[in-house]
Symmetry: D2
Subunit: 137 residues, 4 copies
Amino acid sequence: MQPDLLAHGRDVLARQPFSALVEARLDELTPGRAELSLGLRPQLQQQDGFVHGGVLAYLADNALTYAGGSVLGPVLTSEFKINYLRPARDADRLLAVATVVGSGRSQAVCRCDVFLVKGAERVLCAAAQGTIRKVGA
Amino acid sequence: MQPDLLAHGRDVLARQPFSALVEARLDELTPGRAELSLGLRPQLQQQDGFVHGGVLAYLADNALTYAGGSVLGPVLTSEFKINYLRPARDADRLLAVATVVGSGRSQAVCRCDVFLVKGAERVLCAAAQGTIRKVGA
Amino acid sequence: MQPDLLAHGRDVLARQPFSALVEARLDELTPGRAELSLGLRPQLQQQDGFVHGGVLAYLADNALTYAGGSVLGPVLTSEFKINYLRPARDADRLLAVATVVGSGRSQAVCRCDVFLVKGAERVLCAAAQGTIRKVGA
Amino acid sequence: MQPDLLAHGRDVLARQPFSALVEARLDELTPGRAELSLGLRPQLQQQDGFVHGGVLAYLADNALTYAGGSVLGPVLTSEFKINYLRPARDADRLLAVATVVGSGRSQAVCRCDVFLVKGAERVLCAAAQGTIRKVGA
């Protein structure tokens, strides 16, 4: 029931005050895959007019968690790493696409690509990988 | 000139709209070491009342960057990883303490401990490690 | 000149005593992609009969380096992370497939999948991501 | 019973064929801390005469695992990341010192410093951080 999964995911997001603060939006959630995005706004920048790396880290972290949660149920992020590829600017939105690359009973390893989206164009600006763990595991 | 370094760091932080949004404060900046903190506020939470992992990631990322910048000058964060140790709640502030563990001409490897601070007590809640690169290198 | 790139890569591998010790083989090297493999042998095991995690880490590290070097020239591995997905056993070979996900003038961010290969079957057993830096950068 | 812990750790190491191949030695094992080392030998080098990065990754991986296992019992390495700080050469031994920075019921987060040891001198050449998980958790 993918529609239910997405609806549930959006309900969780709506109950995350920090996600509301950065105006994140859950665009897609299917078993093993999540798409989370936010618009580039001045409030999210660092001192040079780029989106702050911490915002990209938030987006990757949360997308990884959604991807893991889509196969494990209630989860926590255990750890992740992120590589920044280019400054995040000159775009409409940041889109994080996370997928499960392997999962067991208690945890899932996921990857995430963070893209700058401008119109129909997507440019990769960060790459992440991490471990999502089932709550209680 | 440590006072100047701290003053310069605070000036940079004041020009980061996202750091203002999360009300981050640069508590200390000396060559090879940075302390960055923020108060626990409802706006920074996820759905269970904990500080959102993305906020801890922001704090670690930015503290690592300050530590690296304290020895390299203008820098960018190349990459970092973070391990979450416990939910961030029941505290007054989150404090990230970042130190340079090794640096060369163009980049520095730094570590960061993120603590929950309640009164005089500090409890480790996340551990990070990453690479900070001189701008233009 | 892909054949030259592969031949050059194999020449470099032949001059790595440690790669000879683990009997690694460079199966493919094209701009932005490397395949490196080794046979499962008792000498590479840990105490439970699995291939030692350090062998998987070696294979991922070296495949990432080859992928980065295929677009940058002489390189060093700056850093990488690896997630282990399942014990490495019951297979003929371990195959690391590394690709460049983004590169600039001085460094490349690469990902690597490490597979257990048994006959025609491939099962993912580890996932890595790291930064490869041009020598002198 | 620290002597027993060290003796048990050395027994496990002796049953790791790969650790025998690289001639690793467990120098210390106490609850929350492990020291693992190996001598620099030509067989462990890459093409420029440095110790291969994969050897450093092996040493960090195994030291992290011992540190985690010292507080959790039988464990597996879930993931780790390593930053290389300088080429590993001109030394007698490589020494990995791993410590637990936080642990729960089922996993421990550990850090590891890898030093070049020459006589009485120690120089940091790599820094690692990772997650060690209790078997069956």
